[in-house]
């Protein structure tokens, strides 16, 4: 039976986030924690593939205990099982340490039930790097397929997948062996409102919660801050530019001044308008 694991992250809603201008840190009170929007599409795609081919969908996240809420959101979308790995020793992880920890969790999950496919979001809306997905694939030594915007076919028996990868000017059709990892675009699907039975199940659902000690063959040195080659050394507010000249006068006068400024760049307009 097909077993798909979706990797998810709980993030502050950066759309309504407020920054503390003195410290340049987030004011967490203003930013409710949500399921990373890209990951909702990852879970939705996993659920659709389950509906098409049969099987099970698990979701996994590394994060603080409140990340249980994000897992419940995935159960609402239609995931079957949720796994939270949480431990102080994970704290401060960059993408390399994150992919290491999540890989250890997936390895443990796949001992119980072998994994055919892993689906990640394109990127998170806070760290925003898009590096974790390919990192997990490399660590598991399976092919990473990024920018996936359509799954054409999945064949768990013959162990291959065919997908579309978005390109700047179109897409490419790629065939990969299974297991493999997809990082999916938001355009791959639309996440509908969750059906009531899923909501009810999510309300009662208790995810599996593991600490570092529950995982196997973990090299503690590769976790968290210690296992992170990158460090954030300085944080500042983006510089504010000086600002421009206001044009004065009636709307027509303003428009006239603007016209003369713009037409100084005459060369841009030659040959325009059907010449």
């Amino acid at each position: 039976m097909l077993h798909i694991v979706a990797c998810i992250k709980q993030v502050p809603d950066t759309k309504i986030i407020k920054m503390n201008p003195k410290t340049n840190t987030m004011d967490r009170r203003t930013a409710p924690a949500i399921l990373n929007p890209y990951d909702a599409h990852a879970v939705e795609e996993a659920v659709r593939l389950k509906e098409r081919y049969g099987g099970t969908v698990s979701v996994v996240t590394m994060g603080p205990p409140p990340a249980v809420t994000a897992i419940k959101k995935c159960i609402e979308i239609g995931a079957d099982e949720g796994y939270l790995i949480t431990d102080r020793r994970f704290a401060g992880a960059d993408t390399l340490a994150t992919s290491y920890a999540v890989t250890k969790a997936i390895e443990k999950i796949s001992k119980e039930k072998p994994v055919d496919l892993i689906i990640c979001g394109k990127m998170s809306i806070d760290g925003d790097t898009g590096q974790v997905g390919p990192g997990i694939a490399r660590r598991l030594d399976i092919p990473p397929l990024t920018s996936v915007n359509k799954v054409v076919e999945l064949n768990p028996d013959e162990k291959y997948a065919i997908v579309h990868r978005k390109l700047e000017d179109g897409y490419e059709v790629v065939r990969s062996t299974l297991p493999c990892l997809f990082s999916v675009e938001k355009t791959i699907n639309e996440v509908p409102y969750s059906p009531l039975p899923n909501m009810l199940r999510a309300a009662r659902y208790q995810p599996h919660i593991w600490s570092v000690d529950d995982l196997e063959d973990v090299d503690i040195k590769q976790l968290g801050l210690k296992g992170s080659p990158t460090i954030v050394s300085k944080v500042w507010a983006p510089p504010k530019p000086a600002g421009g000249t206001f044009l004065e006068g009636s709307p027509r006068e303003q428009a006239e001044q603007l016209l003369s400024v713009v037409l100084e760049k005459k060369e841009l307009f030659q040959g325009k308008g059907g010449m």
Binding site: R139, G243, K265
Partner: protein
């Protein structure tokens, strides 16, 4: 790991359809500065099939050396094959810094390479500097949806890696005939070793708008009020031969397709002229257009942050100003046409 063994600044040269990607040329410009500050070589790493002739361009834009992997197995970009090329080259020649364009290919490749090396990878860099004596790369990037900038360091590993946004760094003026050293490498990789196959490449038949290539962009925001109101933007753009840009809120409202969105989660643009009409000027929008040549803002709120980020501002109602502009441009430009036509 002895840092002294790692020398030189590298740029991954992205190529497609027999052309070097413009972001790679920009990175050669940025890489040149880093290399000169450190007193080391700037090298390009070029992977593909039948791409040797592209080395000429790479030298003209500032590289001293090109490491070339020119083999049939590299016909299409695939993470696993290209990654093996970069890893092979890095093992043999040990650079201190490798830069990639923050394109989908560059990000995909860099993420895989950094995991295998392993080393740190800074994402979506918009500012680059290096410490002259230690060689420490100072890579700064926006995070939390553009609300902050952060400088990311990688102190304990070499090479240091970063992906860099396109249209942020400046390419050097190409120096025709500038030559350099080509180091040809091969790796023994059989097609059967690669687990992915590109079956087909489909170019989208409707030519996708590429607003990042336009000289003039007329961008509209939520201030246009409705889909119908937004048509004013199309009208002005048509009149002056510009492309249409939009804020995210406009795209989310469904007034126009995402391909037109300027900013953090849209396209970064650097046209010669950028009109921001009914756009408030949120930081996520500004990061995508602030390097434009001439920025003109029209907004009815004098306090709108867009006015901090423009060269010329008009405080007023778009529905009053823009029709006047359209009319004036129509007159002025048809006169231009006559002028040019009469010159022959």
């Amino acid at each position: 790991m002895d840092f002294k063994d790692y020398k030189g600044v590298w740029v991954f040269i992205e190529q497609k359809d027999d052309q070097v990607a413009s972001v790679s040329l920009e990175l050669l410009g940025a890489g040149r500065k880093l290399a000169d500050k450190r007193g080391v070589e700037l090298a390009g790493i070029l992977i593909g099939e039948n791409v040797k002739h592209l080395t000429k361009t790479v030298f003209e834009y500032g590289a001293d050396t090109v490491y070339l992997y020119d083999q049939p197995i590299f016909k299409h970009y695939r993470t696993e094959s290209y990654m093996k090329g970069v890893l092979d080259c890095s093992d043999k020649h040990k650079p201190e810094i490798i830069l990639f364009g923050a394109t989908s290919t560059g990000k995909d490749l860099a993420s895989a390479v950094a995991t295998d090396l392993p080393t740190g990878l800074t994402a979506d860099t918009t500012e680059l500097d290096v410490e002259e004596d230690t060689g420490l790369l100072l890579a700064s990037r926006p995070a939390f949806g553009g609300n902050i900038m952060a400088t990311i360091l990688c102190k304990k590993y070499r090479p240091q890696m970063a992906t860099v946004r396109s249209k942020v760094m400046k390419a050097l003026e190409p120096e025709p005939g500038r030559a350099g050293k080509i180091v040809e490498e091969t790796i023994s990789l059989k097609e059967d070793d690669i687990r992915t196959k590109v079956l087909e490449i489909v170019k989208e038949t409707v030519r996708k708008v590429r607003i990042d290539e336009a000289d003039i962009i007329v961008a509209g925001g939520k201030g246009l009020g409705s889909y119908e109101g937004f048509q004013l933007i199309h009208h002005l753009a048509e009149t002056i031969g510009g492309a249409v840009g939009a804020s995210r809120d406009v795209v989310e409202a469904g007034w126009i397709d995402h391909a037109h969105q300027v900013g953090q989660t849209g396209v970064t643009v650097t046209p010669k002229i950028y009109f921001a009409i009914g756009i408030s000027g949120a930081i996520q929008h500004i990061v995508g257009m602030k390097n434009s040549g001439l920025i003109i803002a029209i907004n009815k709120d004098k306090e709108a942050p867009i006015f901090q980020n423009c060269h010329y501002g008009i405080v007023g109602d778009a529905f009053e100003i823009v029709p006047i502009l359209i009319e004036m441009f129509e007159n002025a430009l048809s006169k231009e046409k006559v002028d040019i036509a009469s010159k022959g």
